[in-house]
């Protein structure tokens, strides 16, 4: 069973992950720590490639877990169609987390990611949540853009591209809800320092 291909196929994916639950433990790791120094992409699944991929995927998983927490914490401040979007995005982040977890396991790794410790106390209204979510999404986008070329498997790279495009679409919706331009940049880079 190829977990990555199933993850990308919209019909098979829902069947595959229906009812799946994941237990996670251990420390977190950001992309910078997880990635190796090689500048070349490589095909195949030797031990070094798998180890590197597992590290990158765990870092991505940490970001997805953080997004899950953010959308969960922010939901009570959202209303109407924005709330509906927030709930949908929470589902997406959970699907990302589930998919990454399955990919890590398929590579023979263990999931050791945890959500980042963020302070949500400053969120007072819908606009605060929208701006916070935008910043978090932009951190994730920057991390994925940087890490994707370091993934050794074509399937992993394609899946990561689909995830980051979804995150960019989240940003577009959040920005529209704030009354801002949804697609200001021809090359979406995210912002690694958006939460600084």
């Amino acid at each position: 069973m190829d977990a990555l291909r199933i993850m990308r196929d919209p019909i098979s994916r829902r069947r595959f992950f229906a009812g799946a639950g994941v237990t996670l433990a251990g420390g977190s790791a950001m992309f910078a720590a997880a990635c190796g120094d090689d500048d070349e992409t490589t095909e195949g699944g030797d031990a070094a490639d798998s180890s590197s991929d597992i590290g990158i995927l765990n870092s991505a998983l940490a970001l997805e877990l953080t997004a899950i927490e953010a959308y969960t914490k922010g939901a009570p401040l959202l209303k109407g169609r924005v709330l509906a979007a927030g709930k949908e995005f929470l589902i997406h982040e959970q699907e990302h987390a589930d998919g990454l977890t399955q990919a890590i396991k398929q590579l023979g790794g263990t999931t050791d990611a945890q959500a980042m410790k963020l302070d949500f106390s400053g969120l007072r209204n819908q606009d605060d949540v929208l701006r916070f979510a935008t910043n978090l999404e932009n951190v994730a986008i920057a991390a994925y853009v940087d890490a994707l070329p370091k993934l050794s498997s074509p399937d992993l790279r394609a899946t990561a591209a689909q995830i980051v495009t979804n995150e960019a679409e989240h940003v577009a919706v959040l920005q529209l809800a704030l009354g801002n331009q949804p697609a200001p940049d021809a090359f979406v880079t995210g912002d690694a320092n958006a939460l600084a």
Binding site: R13, V145, A161, Q162, A168, L176, A183
Partner: protein, 211 residues
């Protein structure tokens, strides 16, 4: 949204790349994915048909780039035609103009990358060469055509991420694909999708779910 099924009309399919995209689209249709009734010809991506350069039949980065340049050039023409059509309400016209400019940036960057590899970018299509574009008669027609084109682009970039070897090209491809997704958000909302509906998939694949 209309529940009309997407109709794919066989056009000239004389490259492996076009065959791959056609197969992908037919698979999507077979699985019951419907769009808003847009009709798209197999030859709607004309520069794929005109890819006859040295890289055309290879699997290298050059072949991927040629295809991508063609798609972006087509998108420029589509959005430029749309902007100048006077069929769009003003806020949408301004958005479409921005998208045209962004697609041009994509085309320029990818063309430069192709030249750096020793390749030659294809000539941009004329609006008459983009089959189906001449049939658009309304704002809704334009939006549906643009959604279909952007979906094709996303599919192509998913495929590109599996084929590209250069880390720099992969990074650029990701950044471009993400922008195309943002275009889709605005187009979907302009067609009546709610904010939640405008991002239908956790893994953007360039396939709109059945409505």
């Amino acid at each position: 949204m209309s529940k009309d099924r997407l109709t794919i009309v066989d056009g000239e399919c004389d490259t492996a790349l076009v065959t791959d995209y056609e197969a992908t689209r037919r698979e999507a249709v077979r699985r019951g994915i419907v769009t808003g009734g847009a009709v798209i010809a197999g030859a709607t991506i004309p520069t794929l048909l005109r890819v006859g350069r040295a890289f055309a039949q290879s699997d290298g980065d050059g072949a991927v780039l040629e295809s991508a340049v063609g798609l972006e050039q087509t998108a420029v023409v589509v959005y430029d035609t749309a902007f100048k059509s006077k069929l769009l309400e003003k806020p949408l016209a301004l958005a479409v103009r921005l998208f045209r400019d962004q697609e041009q940036e994509h085309a320029d960057a990818l063309s430069q990358a192709l030249e750096d590899l020793g390749g030659t970018p294809p000539e941009p299509p004329t609006s008459a060469e983009v089959k189906g574009l001449g049939s658009v008669r309304s704002q809704e027609d334009i939006l549906r055509f643009a959604v279909e084109l952007e979906n094709m682009a996303v599919m192509a970039y998913v495929d590109a991420h599996m084929k590209l070897q250069s880390p720099e090209l992969l990074k650029t491809g990701t950044q471009i694909m993400a922008n195309e997704g943002q275009h889709l958000v605005l187009l979907r909302q302009a067609l009546g999708a709610s904010p939640a509906q405008s991002v239908p998939s956790a893994f953007e694949a360039g396939i709109d779910p059945a409505s």
